[in-house]
Subunit: 443 residues, 2 copies
Amino acid sequence: MNIILLSGGSGKRLWPLSNDIRSKQFIKIFQAPGGSHESMVQRVYRQIRSADPEARVIIATSKSQVSVIHNQLGEEVGISVEPCRRDTFPAIALASAYLADIQKIDPEETVVVCPVDPYVEADYFEALKALDRQAAREKAKLVLMGMEPTYPSEKYGYIIPGDRLPVSSVRAFREKPGKREAEEFIAQGALWNAGVFAYKLKYMLQKAHDMTGSSDYRYLFDHYENLEKISFDYAVAEKEKQLQVMRFEGQWKDLGTWNTFTEAMEENSIGEAILNETCRNVHVINELDVPILAMGMQDVVISASPEGILVSDKEQSSYIKPYVDKINQQIMFAEKSWGSFRVLDAGDESLTIKVTLNPGHRMNYHSHRNRDEVWVVIKGTGRTRVDGAERNIRAGDVITMAAESRHTVAASTELQMIEVQLGRDISVQDKQKYDDDYDLRKS
Amino acid sequence: MNIILLSGGSGKRLWPLSNDIRSKQFIKIFQAPGGSHESMVQRVYRQIRSADPEARVIIATSKSQVSVIHNQLGEEVGISVEPCRRDTFPAIALASAYLADIQKIDPEETVVVCPVDPYVEADYFEALKALDRQAAREKAKLVLMGMEPTYPSEKYGYIIPGDRLPVSSVRAFREKPGKREAEEFIAQGALWNAGVFAYKLKYMLQKAHDMTGSSDYRYLFDHYENLEKISFDYAVAEKEKQLQVMRFEGQWKDLGTWNTFTEAMEENSIGEAILNETCRNVHVINELDVPILAMGMQDVVISASPEGILVSDKEQSSYIKPYVDKINQQIMFAEKSWGSFRVLDAGDESLTIKVTLNPGHRMNYHSHRNRDEVWVVIKGTGRTRVDGAERNIRAGDVITMAAESRHTVAASTELQMIEVQLGRDISVQDKQKYDDDYDLRKS
């Protein structure tokens, strides 16, 4: 099975755990086999591998998510990087061209597209395989998956099928309706449109050509900024005559708010937390190193991260967005392809950060114009290069780098450093990268 | 007026703002003149100064509070330091001897004793002055202040007065009663015993001599550990025949729980906090640098400090102690006489701290056996001495100190440093101090 996972935008609905650079699909709150916690993207990737060990998985996403995807899924996962955000049709066209041109997939092969963030079980992946098989039969150009509605939701589009068979033609699409209308649709046997579908690769390449003038990956990538912002539903699905829908009745949950998100938690707390015996339906997710004590709370979510602390009634939590939009907090924590960083202290003319570099990883060779930096190694071993001079480093070593000095570091074992940045105009933009055509020798 | 303020023990009832080294009286949550916030001890000290600019204030406390008292009240405040905790009679005897021997107060002068932590207004200090004048009249050896009860509390002792006059003899004392008994006492005109009283200094010196064999400050200090643990009520008040009680009807609040503590707050939040419009009777005290967002909460206190986060129903908050007793969190923040420190990161073999040194202050000259240290100056100027060698320092400078190396630093302007401690057995106990008989030259 070829599967394109659409990994969507930033979103702050799960603040303080999601923010401008960390989307909800990267928050590790689900119990993983072995007792640790995994994120939605890790969970779905593991589930796909389990359902189909041969599956070819491509993640269609923006540049800002590449680091965290590599951090969470490893370096080998295929990523179709969108140069900018352009809605779902350009994203799917680009990823399809990536499959054809880069991964050399035969255009006669089928492709399944689905969002990365629904919370599902094994039956969903069996249904994806059935969807894939149905697309291979070419009874239709496009086969959608329609979710059996569990309530008259106003936040989904509806698919009106031609009949109530497991696989049916599509009579019509309906945009997000009001509640009354949704009830009527459901009475007619309508299904939620969840953005899950399958097609033969050649079909989407033809659509890309029709809409943009080309199905060439390089062309689409280079001209991505100029492609029309248009959704897949509007550009393709709603216009396609040879269309089928396949019903899915299993669990499919969109964990878009704290209320729904915590419903999927198997424990009441993750991280250091104490809930006294008078707490009812309380969920705590604590990413800080200090304990949270909750007493006498009911129907409440408490979430703490280096970015902030949320204490909310679960119902109320769905109204979080305007409040969080007003918060102008700098990024305090980020997972990168090479490891992670956490801001420890922000002063007027200094920024102190804890940097963790994974074994075998390294930073780019770079310099800063407006700040000096000091590294104090607190754990592990590695090797630095500063203005051309290399040295091995280990816990206790101090490396000072004046502004304009070129520097990098590579980790032999997991390397932790306290980085102190000093200067008047400290900014992530102040970074010049240099050619990287040498290897730090093994320490 | 001579006034002994009893500054009591640690207590975790206001965790995470109070802990083993920070008692509730040092938490800055009250609006101070000028718009900043002040602690209980700062508030009561300011109120005394306002009621009687000539007042001589002695704070009777343990060694562990000396630093924070100097930090909050300045270096000039008189402190009678108890070498260990020995209940109220030894503490009052020692402080009285301190007044006589160290501050050279005439034994004919009067002394007022009161706890540092009730929340009171100006009328209370006028009442203290009246109590002081009454003691000067020597109609009795000891004059107690009796608080008009506002409810049948089970947590106070009661004083049964001889009559209902403003100043009366004392008929009897009653230990903390049950609720029914308390109601009866109140019906009889009983008053709360709040541990507030006045006497002539010679009286308490005589009591010290009677109970311990000496009223000499040096003797009491040196033998403090061997003094009997006994309360002032039990040792003195309940045995005294020539005893009076003076009624006080003004505001006197014991802010011992989060519930009562937040009642005294004039704002709903201190620190970075957003309360949405569905919050009712919510108080947030946030000592962290990141925002707290509260949504749909009612009758709740939220408190965050570098030690942890509390989210509690206000009623429930009075049951906090057993939960907090189980938390074994290292001290993450402390105010010292010389400034403050905050733990930024605790690793397996490292500890990263932000140290702030107030202008003109310095550390002791010291060394550590089991750890190296690195200082990175992030703000201000000062001077270091490391193994005898002195140098001026400023933002950007890095000072490395191997284990056993003797070192100190003095601040010219407010000096902020990131201190990284490195070693296997990092402990606050690992500190050797050296003679301090030199001055760091001015930088």
